[in-house]
C-alpha cells in the first residue's frame, strides 16, 4: 500500500490531490425499509475487515509521517445498498461478500419476518459507513 501511495505521489503534480475513500469495518444495522418507515433487523458484523482497515490506515499514517502527503480534509458518510428480496441479498452476500461480513442467522430470520409483512415498497438496506480522506501532495 505504501508503495502504491508513493507511486501516486510520483505521478501527481506538485500540490496534487490524493483521495482515499473506503468503507469502515464497523457493525451496521440491517434495515427493512418501506414506504413511510423502516425497521431494524439486527446488526451486521464487518469485523473480518478490521485488519485491512488497519493496514490502510497505517499506510496513510506512514506517508504523512514521512512528509510526502498532508491530510487536508476527512469526511464520514453512509453508503447504502438496497436489495429487493431477502433471498436476493443472501445469494449476493454468499457470492460477492464471502469472508468480508458475518450476518447471524437470527438477523436473517428477523429480516424475513419484517420483510414478510408486505408493506408497500419494501426493500432491504445496508448502510455502510465510509471514510473519505483528502490529502495534498507535499513536494
Amino acid at each position: 500500500m505504501v508503495h502504491a501511495l508513493k507511486e501516486a505521489w510520483r505521478i501527481l503534480v506538485p500540490h496534487g490531490t490524493l483521495i482515499d475513500v473506503r468503507p469502515l469495518s464497523i457493525d451496521v444495522p440491517l434495515e427493512i425499509v418501506y414506504e413511510g418507515g423502516c425497521a431494524d433487523a439486527g446488526m451486521v458484523d464487518f469485523s473480518p475487515g478490521v485488519d485491512l482497515d488497519a493496514d490502510a490506515d497505517n499506510a496513510m499514517i506512514s506517508v504523512t509521517a514521512e512528509g510526502i502527503y498532508t491530510l487536508a480534509r476527512e469526511e464520514l458518510f453512509d453508503f447504502t445498498y438496497y436489495w429487493k428480496t431477502v433471498k436476493g441479498m443472501q445469494d449476493d452476500i454468499k457470492e460477492y461478500w464471502e469472508g468480508e461480513v458475518n450476518i447471524p442467522e437470527q438477523v436473517w430470520q428477523r429480516a424475513r419476518q419484517l420483510f414478510d409483512k408486505r408493506r408497500p415498497k419494501t426493500q432491504i438496506r445496508l448502510a455502510m459507513r465510509m471514510k473519505l480522506g483528502k490529502y495534498e501532495k507535499i513536494g
Binding site: 502504491a4 507511486e7 505521478i11 490531490t17 475513500v21 499506510a59 453508503f79 438496497y82 433471498k87
Partner: protein, 97 residues
C-alpha cells in the same frame, strides 16, 4: 441479485464536495468495472482508470459512459504506474487501499 448501490449518490457528492474535478486530469487506482468512474467521468479533461483484474476492466471498457476519448482504461497495479511524473492532478483510491 445485485443490489442497487448508493442511489443517493453519497460517494460522488462527497467526492465533489472536497475536490473540483472539472478540467482536471484524474487517475483512479482500482477502478474495477468502472461503476464509480462512470459517475464523474464527464467532468475531468482526462480520466484513466486502472485495475489488475481484466474481467472487471472488460466491463468498464464496454460501458458507454466510459467510451469517450478522454477516458482510458488500463490493466496495471497501483504499485507500478506506467505514467511519467506529474501526469495527474488527482489520484483516487476508491476502496483500493
Amino acid at each position: 441479485m445485485r443490489p442497487i448501490r448508493d442511489p443517493e449518490g453519497a460517494e460522488l457528492s462527497h467526492l465533489l464536495a472536497v475536490c473540483d474535478l472539472t478540467g482536471s486530469r484524474v487517475l483512479e487506482v482500482g477502478c474495477g468495472d468502472g461503476k464509480f468512474t462512470r459517475q464523474y467521468a464527464h467532468l475531468p479533461s482526462q480520466v484513466v482508470g486502472i485495475d489488475p483484474v481484466i474481467l472487471d476492466l472488460r466491463t468498464a471498457i464496454q460501458d458507454p459512459a466510459l467510451s469517450s476519448a478522454r477516458v482510458g482504461i488500463a490493466q496495471t497495479k497501483g504499485e507500478n504506474l506506467p505514467f511519467p511524473q506529474h501526469t495527474f492532478d488527482i489520484a483516487i483510491f476508491a476502496c483500493s487501499l
